[in-house]
C-alpha cells in the first residue's frame, strides 16, 4: 500500500508541476508595463478604440448625468480632456474612428421615442437598491450613425429593425463591418426561433458589411449562434470576429474575407473567446477568454494563422477584455475590472511586442478542444 500511495502522490503532483512550468514562463509584466487606469469618472467605461494617429481614444462610459446608459466620449491623451460626441439620450455603444476622415461611427438608440422613459426606468430601478447581473440587452432600436467632428452632424447609416451595432471601419475608411440581428425581424420565425428571440436575441446576430455611407449592406455569415464583434485586420484583407456556438456559451475567434468567403477558425479554445483584434504588425490577434473560469476573463493572444495554442497576457482578478493595441503597436488599451467592483474601466499599458512574439513562437501547437 505504501508504494501505491507514493505513486499516486507523484501522479497528482505531475499535473500541477506541468501547469506551473507553463504558467511561470511569462507574467503579465512581461507584456504589459506601466499599467494604468484611464477612466475614473462614472460607473463604468470600456471599448476604447484608437484614433488613427494614436493621440486619442473613443470609448463608451456611463457618466452622463441623468442617463444611466453608455454614451460615447473622445479622450485626448495629450491634455486629458474628454468630450461627449453622442447625443446624450438613450443607449450607445461601439464607436470607431473613420480613417482619413473626421467621422466617428457608433450605435445609438436616441431615435427611439421611448429612450427617455427607459433611462428613467433604469434610474428608478437602480435607486431601489436592487442589483441585477450586468447584461447587454441588444436593444432592437440600436442603429449605426456616423458623427462628423467638424460639423457635429450625425448621419444615420442603418434603419433595419433589430440591433445594428459593433461597427468598425476598414483601414482605408471606405467600409464598415458590423453586427446585426435584423434576421430575427425581416422574415417569419418558426416557434423554436420565436422562443429563441425571447430568450436570447443574440442567437440571430450575424456579420454584415456596408459602405461608409451606409449603402450596399450585405450579410457575410449564416451560421446559427451569435456572430459578432467584427474588425478588419491591419491590412484590410480579412475580417476577424467571434463566433458563438448555438448554446451561447462557447465562442471562438474566426477570420474571413471581406466578402464572407474562406471562413477560418483561428482558436479552438473550448471557452468563451471573443473580442479579437489584430496587432498592427499583422502577426497575432489579441482576444479575451474565460478559459480560466467562467467569470474570470483574461486577455490572450494567438498567432494570425491559429497554428499554436493561445498565450495568456493578463494575470489579474476580475474581467480583462476588449484589448485594442495602439496604431504603433506599442500600447494596449483594454477594459478591466481589476481596480475592484464588477464594473469595468478603461486601462492602458505599454505593450512589449518583442516579448509577445517570443511567447507566441514558444507556444505549443494548437490542441483541438475536447468539444470539437
Amino acid at each position: 500500500m505504501k508504494g501505491f500511495r507514493a505513486a499516486l502522490v507523484a501522479a497528482l503532483l505531475a499535473v500541477p508541476l506541468a501547469a506551473m512550468q507553463t504558467a511561470s514562463t511569462y507574467q503579465e509584466r512581461d507584456f504589459l508595463t506601466r499599467v494604468r487606469r484611464l477612466t475614473i469618472e462614472g460607473r463604468r467605461a470600456g471599448e476604447g478604440y484608437w484614433s488613427p494617429d494614436g493621440k486619442r481614444l473613443v470609448f463608451q462610459s456611463e457618466r452622463e448625468p441623468g442617463n444611466p446608459f453608455y454614451q460615447i466620449y473622445v479622450l485626448d491623451l495629450g491634455t486629458g480632456d474628454t468630450k461627449r460626441i453622442s447625443p446624450g439620450i438613450g443607449k450607445t455603444t461601439c464607436a470607431f474612428f473613420r480613417p482619413n476622415s473626421d467621422e466617428i461611427e457608433f450605435a445609438s438608440t436616441h431615435a427611439d421615442p421611448k429612450s427617455k422613459q427607459l433611462q428613467e426606468d433604469e434610474l428608478a430601478f437602480r435607486a431601489s437598491g436592487k442589483e441585477r447581473r450586468y447584461a447587454w440587452d441588444y436593444d432592437p432600436e440600436m442603429d449605426i450613425y456616423a458623427y462628423s467632428e467638424k460639423t457635429g452632424a450625425m448621419k444615420r447609416l442603418t434603419t433595419a429593425r433589430g440591433y445594428d451595432a459593433e461597427g468598425s471601419y476598414s483601414p482605408d475608411g471606405q467600409w464598415i463591418v458590423f453586427t446585426s440581428m435584423r434576421d430575427a425581424y425581416n422574415r417569419p420565425l418558426d416557434d423554436k426561433e420565436k422562443k429563441k428571440l425571447a430568450e436570447d436575441p443574440s442567437y440571430f446576430a450575424e456579420i454584415y458589411i456596408m459602405r461608409a455611407d451606409g449603402s450596399g449592406q450585405a450579410r457575410l455569415t449564416t451560421v446559427a449562434g451569435y456572430d459578432g464583434g467584427p474588425f478588419f485586420t491591419q491590412n484590410g484583407k480579412r475580417i476577424v470576429w467571434r463566433r458563438f456556438d448555438e448554446s451561447g456559451l462557447i465562442a471562438d475567434v474566426w477570420t474571413m474575407n471581406p466578402d464572407g468567403s474562406d471562413q477560418k477558425q483561428i482558436t479552438d479554445f473550448g471557452s468563451m473567446s471573443w473580442a479579437p483584434y489584430m496587432h498592427p504588425s499583422g502577426e497575432y490577434f489579441l482576444f479575451a477568454s474565460n478559459k480560466l473560469g467562467f467569470e474570470n476573463f483574461e486577455i490572450f493572444m494567438v498567432d494570425a494563422q491559429g497554428a499554436k495554442e493561445p498565450v495568456r497576457v493578463t494575470y489579474s482578478d476580475g474581467f480583462d477584455g476588449l484589448p485594442v493595441p495602439s496604431p504603433d503597436g506599442k500600447q494596449l488599451a483594454w477594459t478591466s475590472s481589476r481596480s475592484g467592483g464588477s464594473a469595468g474601466q478603461l486601462f492602458l499599458a505599454q505593450w512589449n511586442h518583442e516579448k509577445a512574439l517570443d511567447a507566441l513562437k514558444n507556444a505549443p501547437p494548437r490542441k483541438p478542444s475536447k468539444k470539437s
Binding site: L38, I40, T82
Partner: protein, 638 residues
C-alpha cells in the same frame, strides 16, 4: 503615518502586527519590482525635484524629527529656508512660518510620598518587634511611584485590601468582582498588580483583559475610593517592584490618586492586617470568586501623588503662495497641500516597530514622511512659477505620529478659516511606489474628484488605487472632519515602516517626482475651476474589529487623544455612525455612558465593554460648559 486612532485604542497592537505581516509580504514583492523599475531611465540626482529634500530631512542630524525635539527644530529650519527660496509667504496675519502648539510629551514622577501609620491601639503580634508594637509610622519616598495616569494630590485615610482589584463586566457573564462584598467609599484601596497567578488558562485570559491598571483605577474610582495603591505581590513576577512610569499619549488623568508601592510598603501596610500580603495573595490566586478582600483596620495611610506631565512645543510650518490675480468673488479662494514632517525620533514615543537589534536607533522616516514633505515642497515650487487664481496653502505638520496633533491644532486655531479651503491634498508615505500603483484616499469627499483625477492621470499615467474612505490614519482625517474636500496620496506600506531602516536610499525618486507632477496638475485644476469642489460626507466603512474579544461595538466617535480634558473629548464623529445619529459632535466631552463615568479615553474603552449592540445607552456630555444628555445606540462593527 500614524496608527493610533479610532475609538478602540485597545485594538492597536493587533493592527500593528497586522501591518507587520503586510510589510513582510510587501518586502517580497518589492524584490520582484526591482526588475520593473530598472526598465525606466534612472533619474539624475541633479534633476530630481525631491531627492535633496528627502536626503536632508532623513539625515542623521535631524535624528528622526520627533515632535518637540531638536531634530524637529532643525527639520523646520530646512523647510523654512526652502519655503523662503520658493517665495512662499507666512500666512496672512502671521509673521512667522512656524505655528507652535503645545502637547504633552511624557510623564515622570514629581516626588510622590507615602506614610503608613500603625494605629496605637493595634497590636501587631506576628511580625513587628515588641518595641514598636504599640505604634509605628514611616514615610517612604523611593518605595512609591505615581502611575502615569494618577491625579496629583494628597489623600489620607483607612485602607481596604481589594484583592486583584478586578471587575469583569456583567456582560461577560463571568462573575468576578473584587469589590463584591467591600465598601471602599472614601477609602484607600490596595490592590495587587496583574491577575490571579494560579488560575486556569481560560480564567486567566478572561481576567487578564480587565487587569490593566487603567481599568483597575476606573473600577476603584467608580466605587468611591479616594486612592488606589498597587503592589506587585510576592507570588507574582517582579515581586515587590514598582510599576515603571510609562509614556502615556492619552493625557487625561484617571480622576483618582493612583500609585504603585514596593513590597516594603505593602508589608508595612499589612502589619495592620491579621495575615501577611503573601497569605492574602495565595488565597486569591486560584481565582475563586468568593475569596473577598478586607479592611485593614490597623493602619492609616497618607499618600502624596505627583505626576509631572512634560509639556513640549511642536511646530507646524505653514506658508502660502498668494493668488496671482485678484481673488474677487472666487468661492473658497484657498487650495491646501500638506504633509507631516515629524517622525518617531529614536522610537521613544512607543510607536516604533523596531526589533530588539534596532531599538533606540534613529528612525529616519524617509518614506514616513520625508517623502511627503519633499512632495509638498516640490509641488509648491512648481506652483510658484505659474499663475494662480486661488491662494495655495502649503503646510508641513508636526505631531502627526503622536495622534494628528499638529493638524488638529491648526484646525482648532484656524489661521485660515477652513471653510475657505476649496480642497486639501495630503501626502503621507509616497516614496515607495510598487508596480506603478498610487493609492488615492478620501476620494469620497467630493463628486468632483472622479473627473479631476481622470484628467490629471492621463498625463501622469499611474495605476490609481482609489479609496473613498477619508477616515485614514493621517492628517487628511483632520480636514475631512472640517468638511474640506480632500485627497491623500500613499504608495503603500513596506517592511521598513516605523523602523530605523526607513532610509533615504530606499526611496524611488523618479516615481516620487511623478506624484509631484500629478498633484501639481490636480491643484492647478482646482485653482482654475470657478466652482469649488462640493464636499460629500462619507459614511464610515466599518472596519472589522480586531483586538479585544467581545468588542464588536461601533459607536462612531473619534476621540481626541491629545487633551487634558476630563472626560472623552471628541475630535469628530464618523459620518452616519451612532454618535452622529445621537447628535454628538466635534468638541463634545462625554462624561458618562451607560451609567459609567468617563474620565478619559481608557474609561471610555472599558465602558464600551458593557454596551450592547442595538441597545440604547444614555450618554451624558458637556457642550459649551453645559451638561447634556442623549441616547446612543451602538452598532456592530462589520
Amino acid at each position: 503615518m500614524n496608527h493610533q486612532r479610532r475609538d478602540d485604542v485597545r485594538t492597536q497592537n493587533s493592527q500593528n502586527s497586522q501591518k507587520r505581516i503586510l510589510s513582510a509580504v510587501s518586502a517580497v514583492s518589492a524584490l520582484i519590482v526591482v526588475a520593473v523599475v530598472g526598465l525606466f531611465a534612472p533619474v539624475d540626482a541633479q534633476t530630481s525635484k525631491t531627492r535633496a529634500h528627502v536626503q536632508a530631512l532623513a539625515s542623521d542630524r535631524l535624528e528622526g524629527r520627533l515632535a518637540g525635539s531638536n531634530g524637529e527644530r532643525l527639520a523646520g529650519d530646512y523647510i523654512v529656508s526652502q519655503l523662503q527660496q520658493i517665495g512662499a509667504k507666512p500666512l496672512p496675519g502671521q509673521r512667522d512660518f512656524r505655528l507652535p502648539f503645545e502637547f504633552t510629551a511624557g510623564t515622570k514622577d514629581g516626588g510622590s510620598r507615602i506614610s503608613v501609620q500603625l494605629k496605637p491601639d493595634t497590636t501587631d503580634a506576628r511580625t513587628s518587634p515588641p518595641s514598636v508594637a504599640s505604634g509605628f509610622s514611616r514615610t517612604f519616598e523611593s518605595d512609591v511611584r505615581a502611575l502615569s495616569f494618577s491625579d496629583n494630590g494628597d489623600v489620607d485615610g483607612t485602607v481596604v485590601f481589594a484583592g486583584y482589584g478586578i471587575v469583569v463586566p456583567d456582560s461577560q457573564d463571568f462573575g468576578y468582582d473584587s469589590y463584591a462584598t467591600l465598601d471602599v467609599k472614601d477609602k484607600i484601596v490596595v490592590v495587587l498588580r496583574y491577575f490571579p497567578e494560579d488560575a486556569d488558562q481560560k480564567t486567566r485570559s478572561m481576567l487578564a483583559r480587565y487587569a490593566d491598571l487603567r481599568y483597575k483605577a476606573m473600577a476603584a474610582r467608580q466605587r468611591g475610593a479616594k486612592a488606589m495603591l498597587v503592589v506587585t505581590g510576592p507570588r507574582s513576577p517582579n515581586a515587590g517592584e514598582l510599576v515603571p512610569m510609562t509614556f502615556d499619549t492619552a493625557l487625561a488623568g484617571s480622576g483618582l490618586v493612583a500609585v504603585s508601592i514596593s513590597g516594603n510598603v505593602g508589608g508595612a501596610i499589612f502589619r495592620g492586617a491579621d495575615k501577611t500580603l503573601e497569605e492574602a495573595q495565595k488565597a486569591l490566586d486560584s481565582a475563586n470568586p468568593h475569596v473577598a478582600g478586607f479592611t485593614i483596620a490597623g493602619v492609616n495611610v497618607h499618600v502624596h501623588a505627583a505626576v509631572e506631565r512634560e509639556k513640549k512645543t511642536g511646530h507646524n510650518i505653514v506658508a502660502y503662495l498668494p493668488a496671482t490675480e485678484p481673488i474677487g468673488t472666487t468661492p473658497k479662494p484657498w487650495v491646501a497641500v500638506g504633509a507631516h514632517y515629524d517622525h518617531l525620533g529614536h522610537g521613544e514615543a512607543g510607536n516604533t516597530l523596531a526589533g530588539k537589534d534596532d531599538a533606540g536607533k534613529i528612525h529616519y522616516g524617509a518614506d514616513d514622511n520625508a517623502s511627503g514633505s519633499a512632495a509638498v515642497l516640490a509641488v509648491a515650487s512648481t506652483l510658484a512659477g505659474q499663475p494662480r487664481k486661488r491662494n495655495v496653502l502649503v503646510a508641513l505638520w508636526s505631531g502627526e505620529e503622536l495622534g494628528l496633533i499638529g493638524s488638529n491644532a491648526f484646525a482648532d486655531k484656524k489661521p485660515v478659516p477652513l471653510d475657505q479651503l476649496a480642497a486639501y491634498l495630503n501626502f503621507d508615505m509616497v516614496g515607495r511606489m510598487q508596480d506603478n500603483k498610487l493609492s488615492v484616499q478620501a476620494t469620497g469627499t467630493s463628486p468632483a474628484w472622479g473627473r479631476i483625477l481622470e484628467q490629471a492621470n492621463i498625463a501622469a499615467g499611474f495605476d490609481l488605487q482609489l479609496q473613498a474612505d477619508p477616515y485614514q490614519p493621517t492628517d487628511v482625517a483632520t480636514f475631512n472632519g472640517a468638511s474640506v474636500p480632500s485627497l491623500s496620496f500613499f504608495t503603500g506600506t513596506h517592511a521598513d515602516y516605523h523602523k530605523p531602516s526607513d532610509t533615504a536610499d530606499k526611496i524611488d525618486y523618479e516615481d516620487l517626482d511623478r506624484v509631484v507632477d500629478f498633484a501639481a496638475a490636480i491643484v492647478r485644476r482646482i485653482e482654475d475651476t470657478a466652482d469649488a469642489p462640493q464636499f460629500t460626507k462619507v459614511d464610515q466603512q466599518m472596519q472589522s474589529g480586531g483586538g479585544r474579544a467581545g468588542v464588536r461595538i461601533f459607536t462612531g466617535t473619534i476621540p481626541d487623544y491629545a487633551t487634558d480634558a476630563k472626560g472623552l473629548l471628541l475630535s469628530g464623529v464618523i459620518g452616519g455612525g451612532p454618535a452622529e445619529q445621537a447628535g454628538l459632535q466635534k468638541g463634545d466631552v462625554i462624561v458618562e455612558i451607560a451609567g459609567q463615568t468617563i474620565a478619559n479615553i481608557y474609561d471610555y474603552t472599558y465602558a464600551l465593554e458593557v454596551l450592547k449592540i442595538g441597545q440604547p445607552a444614555k450618554v451624558i456630555y458637556m457642550r459649551d460648559g453645559k451638561r447634556r444628555e442623549t441616547t446612543l445606540t451602538p452598532a456592530a462593527r462589520k
